[in-house]
Each structure stands twice: as structure tokens, then as C-alpha cells.
Symmetry: C3
Subunit: 348 residues, 3 copies
């Protein structure tokens, strides 16, 4: 269950650096490559000649050349050339709207007519020199909605990440979930606590004392199709928390873009953006590696959860207050997918 008429992160620029990339996105086999003028392109990963995987080939003069018999596929899905062949009558490949923006390659796996670049989420920090960003990608054998649940309920940090970002205060402070149209915001504010180790590390790197009493915030914001940005951070106690002056707090934006591969697997693009010491690449890399280790802990939990849910499909799950963020996000998706399906029927 996923939206097709939506922008997803398909890959990152480094994945198509000098070579094509084959990846299944929302059930579609896609070959990403750099077309004319180095502009990103995405076509079905199927050579119209004999069905070879185009992504095993190479890029030449803006075309994706099939590595089997040399058919050159254009970014427009049409065969541009093939040795000794007239390609004018060759059937065209499906193409997918793609846009390179904010350090990601965004793809629209649904109806190309509906692809509107202005719908790509605006990432303030991405084009701003006051900010630094580091991130990575994991493949998970589970429905992307289990990751939405995970990120919209950070209670799990106490159990899945006890030694880094977990804290028993999380368990004692209720969350607040607000529906804002298609966007869901879940927040939790903790007062007068000891900063967990991963925040202490950041405080020290920013030249701030790490053992003072702190106020902590977690503000997860879901927007369709599967984007979650989370404001997290700590401020010296009583200084205003999230709203504190810059010198009294340290915060980051946790960036999460989930892209369905199949109904029960997805690509998970994760990262962190920060607006302190943005020019220090060493700090960026240390945070990136730290986040990578922490976020990797979720994989085993979510993949085992998927196995359980697949085995007991009819089983009733609880919807507690802490689950409200995920539950509400799923409701938004269900509503939008229903609308998408109705639109398909009307145009058919």
C-alpha cells in the first residue's frame, strides 16, 4: 500500500557517479543514469531489444548503452541508436520523472503527467551554507509503514537504542500528536534531564558543557508519501528548550525518506542536518557514523516485526496514545491512496 503519484527519493548522486543504477521503486524496475548535460534520467530497466537489464550497461553521450548488444537508450525512453540498426520503430521504454535537488535524486513512479516539481518537499537546510548534512541508506525487508510507525513514536529509543539516544525520561513524558491536513506532528518535551550519550558527544564537539541539566525535545513531522523530519536536541534547563537561544542549545534535524521497493521491503534514506559548526567535515562524518550505527539497530526489530505481521495478518494490533503519530500517518496515506485509486478508475 503506497502512493504512486508522489515524489520519493530514488537514490543519491554518488550512486550514479559514472555508472547507471538499477533499483526497484514502488514495484517498478528502474535504471537511473545521467543523461544529456549530466541531467539525471530514469527509464525502465528493460532493454526493448531482448530484455537485458539496461542498468548493467554504461553511459555514453547521455544515453544508457545496453551492455549486451549496444542499444543506446535515450533519457526520453526512445532507442537513440543501435549498431547497424534503424531504431525508429523500436518500442519506447517507460520513463520516470526525476529531479536532482537537495542532494537527492527524486523520482515520481506514477503518472508522469501529474509530476509537479513544486511538490518536492522544501528542505531549508539543504541549500544553506549555515547547515551541514550527512546521511546514508539501508535496505529493509519490511513495509515502509513500519518505519513510519517507528519514527513517529520515539518511545522505542529507550529500548532499541538505550546506550546512545534512549533515556528513561522518554517513558515518563507523554507525546502530543496533531493532525495538520496531510501532515502529522508528534512531539515530546522532557525537562531537566541528563543528556543521553549521543547528545553529550555533540555538545562536546560544539564546545559546550555536557553534564548540565538539560531540556530535550523530539518533534517528528510526517508528510506524504513517506517523509519524516524530526527536530531533536537539548538546551540548558530552563532556557526555553527548542526555542532557546542558539548558544544555549544544540539541535539537529533527523532526516528520513522511505521509498517502497515492494509491499514488504523498502529503501531507507536517513541522515542528520545541523546548523552548528557546519564547516567541520570531521564532525559531520563522526555524527553520520554514529547515526548509522544507531539506526542500524532498528533493522532486526522491524524485519522480525514484519515476519510476525505476515504470519498473522488478521491479528488485531493495539493503537495506544504513543502510536497516534504512526496511526494518523497511515490514515493520511489510506485516504490519499484511495483517492489515487478512484482517480485511476475515473480516467480509465
Amino acid at each position: 500500500m503506497f502512493l504512486k503519484n508522489a515524489w520519493y527519493v530514488g537514490c543519491t548522486p554518488d550512486e550514479i557517479d559514472g555508472k547507471p543504477l538499477g533499483r526497484r521503486i514502488c514495484g517498478e524496475k528502474v535504471a537511473f543514469f545521467r543523461g544529456p548535460e549530466n541531467k539525471v534520467a530514469a527509464v525502465e530497466d528493460f532493454c526493448p531489444h531482448r530484455g537485458a537489464a539496461l542498468s548493467l550497461g554504461f553511459v555514453q553521450d547521455g544515453n544508457l548503452v545496453c551492455g549486451y548488444h549496444g542499444l543506446a537508450m535515450g533519457a526520453d525512453g526512445k532507442a537513440a541508436s543501435m549498431p547497424m540498426q534503424r531504431v525508429a520503430g523500436f518500442p519506447a521504454n517507460k520513463t520516470f520523472p526525476v529531479v536532482e535537488r537537495y542532494g537527492f535524486i527524486w523520482i515520481w513512479p506514477g503518472d508522469p503527467e501529474l509530476a509537479d516539481e513544486s511538490l518536492i518537499p522544501h528542505l531549508e537546510w539543504a541549500d544553506n551554507p549555515d547547515w551541514a548534512y550527512g546521511g546514508g541508506m539501508y535496505h529493509l525487508n519490511c513495509d515502509y509503514r513500519l518505519m513510519i510507525d517507528n519514527l513517529m513514536d520515539l518511545t522505542h529509543e529507550t529500548y532499541v537504542h538505550p546506550e546512545s539516544i534512549g533515556h528513561h525520561a522518554i517513558d515518563k513524558v507523554p507525546v502530543n500528536t496533531v493532525v495538520q491536513g496531510d501532515s502529522i506532528v508528534t512531539s515530546r518535551y522532557m525537562s531537566n534531564i541528563v543528556a543521553p550519550p549521543f547528545f553529550q558527544l555533540q555538545l562536546r564537539y560544539n564546545g559546550m558543557p555536557a553534564d548540565e541539566p538539560m531540556d530535550r525535545w523530539q518533534i517528528s513531522r510526517f508528510t506524504p508519501p513517506a517523509n519524516i523530519l524530526i527536530d531533536v536536541g537539548v538546551a540548558f534547563a530552563g532556557k526555553g528548550g527548542f526555542e532557546a537561544a542558539r548558544e544555549d542549545k544544540i539541535g539537529t534535524i533527523v532526516v528520513d525518506f522511505m521509498t517502497p521497493e515492494t509491499e514488504t521491503s523498502h529503501w531507507y534514506f536517513w541522515g542528520m542536518a545541523r546548523n552548528w559548526k557546519p564547516d567541520d567535515a570531521e564532525i559531520t562524518e563522526i555524527i553520520r557514523q554514529g547515526q548509522g550505527k544507531i539506526f542500524h539497530q532498528d533493522l532486526a526489530v522491524l524485519e522480525a516485526q514484519q515476519k510476525n505481521l505476515s504470519e498473522y495478518p488478521g491479528r488485531h494490533l493495539l493503537m495506544l496514545n504513543i502510536d497516534a503519530g504512526g496511526v494518523q500517518s497511515r490514515r493520511v496515506l489510506e485516504r490519499l491512496v484511495k483517492k489515487e485509486n478512484l482517480a485511476d478508475i475515473e480516467t480509465a
Copy 2:
């Protein structure tokens, strides 16, 4: 095809030492753990909150705490607590009767109402200081009944284990199979032979000459659901064989408990009990390792047999005299499973 209303070995105490264990038993996903007062407990491996695998969590104060959001599952299958939640209305998990006895954790995967501890087989040697025991566990991708066949017809030792316990005398001496109610006993007695290497090793460790002519016995006893104890040993020729005086023989009990995982896979708990030099832990370990190597040889044979049988399900198999032990054991199981199914229909 397996009995559900029966005691099976679910695991051994070392497998739940300080941590829970997830294992599929007779199709059921089970989480084993030590509950209150360190008493063993077993509940469905499914968190009633969001379906996470409870066995990925940890044990605290006799509860199994879910490693995702901290729901504490009690040994009684009821949620004992969860941070900031009232758990009174949470749906209960299925629980499984479990008993720790004789160095094993026994589980009853069927109707808990019928679980009667007195039905756990009595293992004389297990609580007796005159005896020593060593063993291990293998997972096999085959129907547990193929292992019953294997152990109820030791003719295979000549072919599968020629260098350790096999002997061409086995091929020359017929077996005798007796049905005793639900119990099947298959025996073979060989006279005046050279002891096979694994017995010579034991003779030497017990300070006895290893190259004398010996009489050898193999007495396999099957009891439902899948327990096979085998008396094996050698005595100096003409001294009475199995009945010989203690100083004239060396014998062990081969212990085999098979626990179905699915219809075509099972957990195989194997070991050996002996009543000579029971205090010598080094001998116990040497025998355990030797048995482990020998019994591992059966895996490839049985798994390939399972593949053949799955591919040719209608194919007629022979039932020779040597197969009588396995064939009769299967008949007992078929009768008892039929009875179990009828009882299910009557109560339904």
C-alpha cells in the same frame, strides 16, 4: 503430521541463560524465558502492542520486556506493565505449559488443559549421580519422522558411520521389533565381533582391553511423541552381553528427542548417558564431541531424502523387516494423531 498434545523438548537451560529464546515448535512461534522465581515460561513470540518479536527483548523482574516499546509480558501471557499505559485491557498472549526437568525445558504445544506433568518421560539417569550426560542439538530440514526411521533402524550405521560405530556384522544380524502398546522396541544382538572404534575408545577410557572379542547390543525404544532411547554397548564375548556384569561390559544410553519445527523441519536433541566414570567431565566431553561428529553425518542424508520425498510425494516406499521399527512407530503416531483430531472435533 505430529502430536500437539504431548511434551517435547523445547530447549535446554543454557539457551535461556540470561536471555530469552525465540523458537518455532510444532508450527507455533514461542518465546522461552525465565519468569518469576527463575521458573521457565513460554509465551507466543508476538508482542500484543505492535507485533514485535518478544524474543528480541530482555528479561526483567520475571517479565519478558519487549525490546521495541517496553511492554512487559508476564509468564501468564498477560501484559504486566508498559510505560505510561494501562495494560488491563490488553489482549493476552497464548502461553505454553513448560517444565524444566532432567536438564531439558519441556513444552506442551497443544491444549494447556491437557498438559499433565506426569506424562513427561522418566529419565532414570538424569537425576542420578551414578550417571553422566552430555549432548547437543541440531536443526534438520526434514520431517522428524525421517529421524525416527533413522534411529529405529541402526542398519544405517554401517553406511553412514562406517569409521566410528558402523560394522558389517550389523548387516548380517536380523533385528527384532516388538510393539508394546504405544512403545516400539527394536533390538539387534551381535556376537563375537571386534568392537567398532567409538566403542574401543570408550573401553580404553574405562581402562578395559579394547581388542577382545565382544558381544554387542542395540536396543532402540520409541515412545510418543518422538522420544527414542537406545541402549548400546559391548561386553566381553560370552559374558551375557547387555545382561553381563558391570566389569565385563561398557554401555551407554543414546538419547534422542525430536521436536517438530514445521512439517518438514525439526530440532534434534541428541546425547549420551553413561554409568561408568560419571565424574570424569573430560570423558563426558570427549564422548559428546565424538557423538556430535557421528550424528552430524546423518544430516545430509536425511535432508536429501526429504527433498526426494517432497518431489515424489506419491511414490511407494518399501517396508522391509529392518524398517519395522520406524514403520510401527509411525503407526502409533498416526493412531494418536487421528485420536487427537477426533477429540478436537468433539470439543468443537
Copy 3:
């Protein structure tokens, strides 16, 4: 889709040297072994006793002894003996006609009545001391017909093997495909080119200059069920090419025998025969290793192609002039398989 009444290469003699071999051929599970007088034999890989895989056993006195309980299976598919058993009434195993010839074990997976040894292709070079042969075998997870396509259209050399046998002249010279009854011949002749590296290596090993302008030929000949022999080589430009005098050219026969395992996997026996310096075993081995590396490059391409075709079964593929060899070969196979099926219906 494959012929069953046909000779396929089942294995090579080294694969049954002192031990049996289990291999699935055209869907049939076969145990190959050396029977009486060391003559090759092939029986169903299923012990009539309890379904064990006979190929896990051993050969004794021309019988294949089951490694489970010692049933000795004869080359005629009848149980020859079993310890303490009368085997006369045992059901017989299916047997498969097999012939050892030209360094291969040929098997006829269909109706044994129709197996005619004279239908085994004549391999002139195989029994001739003027020729040397080296080869190997790969397993591919794709329909064997994708390999037929591959070998009947060597255009792919330019893309899959650019650093060894590929050459952009291949792209510029059209192929010619001729149907000769059930045999298909596709040829391409290139003039006045630089020899590709793998041919330069051969020229040097044969003591010939490697940097002269050369004429090159590729003549692929398909015969059912899945045999392709390819004359390849280079001659000094203007000396007659394939027809040039021996001192002016260097040529080899590329040998390809494909044997279906299932509908979407096959065993690929590949090799090269040459009639220059046939006694130099070192050259044979160098060429064998070189060919092995080059031919291994096709695996990833063909297996990805199979995945695409399995995912889009209804998708229309192009049939260009370069594809004529494969297309015509497939037509021969379709015609013969249809004929085989009709014959089955008539006899049924």
C-alpha cells in the same frame, strides 16, 4: 521448453571419477556412475527402499550402493542386492541411456526406446591427435535458449567482452544466417582489422606476428537439441580468411553444449578445440583459463535477462537481423518439441 528425446551432455568423466554424481537434467533427478566394466550408467537418483539420494552413496562392483542402508542399485535400474534382503520384488528405477564419447557423458532424458547412439553429434576434433581440447562447465539460472541466443549472435562480444574478444568491427559488419534443415548457421566475416587481445595471445603462442592486419571470421552452427560449434579465428589480411593456408591463420572451434536443468536453469559445457600445437598442454590450459574468464562474463547478463523476462512474460521482444540465428534456432526447437508432443499423444 526443451526436447527430451535427444542427446545432451550430462557430465564429464572427471565428475564421476571414483564417485557418483547427482544432477538434474531436463527436470529428471539423475545419478551418474560407472557401472560394470567401468561403463557409465545413469539411474533415477532415488533409492527404492526409502527415497534416499543414491548419488550420496558409493560405487562397488559396478553397482551404486545407497549410502543409507546399503541397497546396491544396478546399472539396469534393478536392485542387485541389499544386506539380508531378497531384492527380486523391489520396484525398478528408471534408467537413462548414457554414452561416453568424445570426452563427454551423453544422456538421453526421454524415451529410452528412441535413444540412437548414431544421433550423438560427430566431433571430428575429439578423437584426432592433431587437435587439443580444453573446457569447463558453468551453471546458469536462465533458460538454455538465452544461451543459444547469446552464441548465435556474437555482436554481444563487443559489449560483454570488450577487453578480450570484442571489437567494434563486429558492429559494422552484418551477419548472414542460413537455415539448413534443423541446423542454423550464422556467419560474420571482418576484413583488415587489428586482432583482439585473446587472438593476439594465441598468435604469439603459435609463433606468429600479432600486430599485422587480419581478416576475422565467426561461424556459429546450431544443431538440436542445444549444440553450438563456432569456428572463430584470424588470418593475415587478404590470405583467404577462414579458407587461408594453415601457416597464414590461427583458428579454434568454440564448443558449446547446453543442458537444461529446469525451464529456467541450465548446465553450460564450454570449451575450445584447436589444431595448432596440440601437444602443448600449457597452451591448452592458458586458453582454457582465458576462455573461462571471458565466458563467465555472460552469466550476470543472462541471469538478469531471465529475471526481466520472467517478470514481464507477455512483453514483446525485437527480432532484428542480428537475432536471426537465435530466432531460427528457437523455431527449429519449437517445431521439434511440437512433433515430440504429438508423438507422445499418439502413443498414449
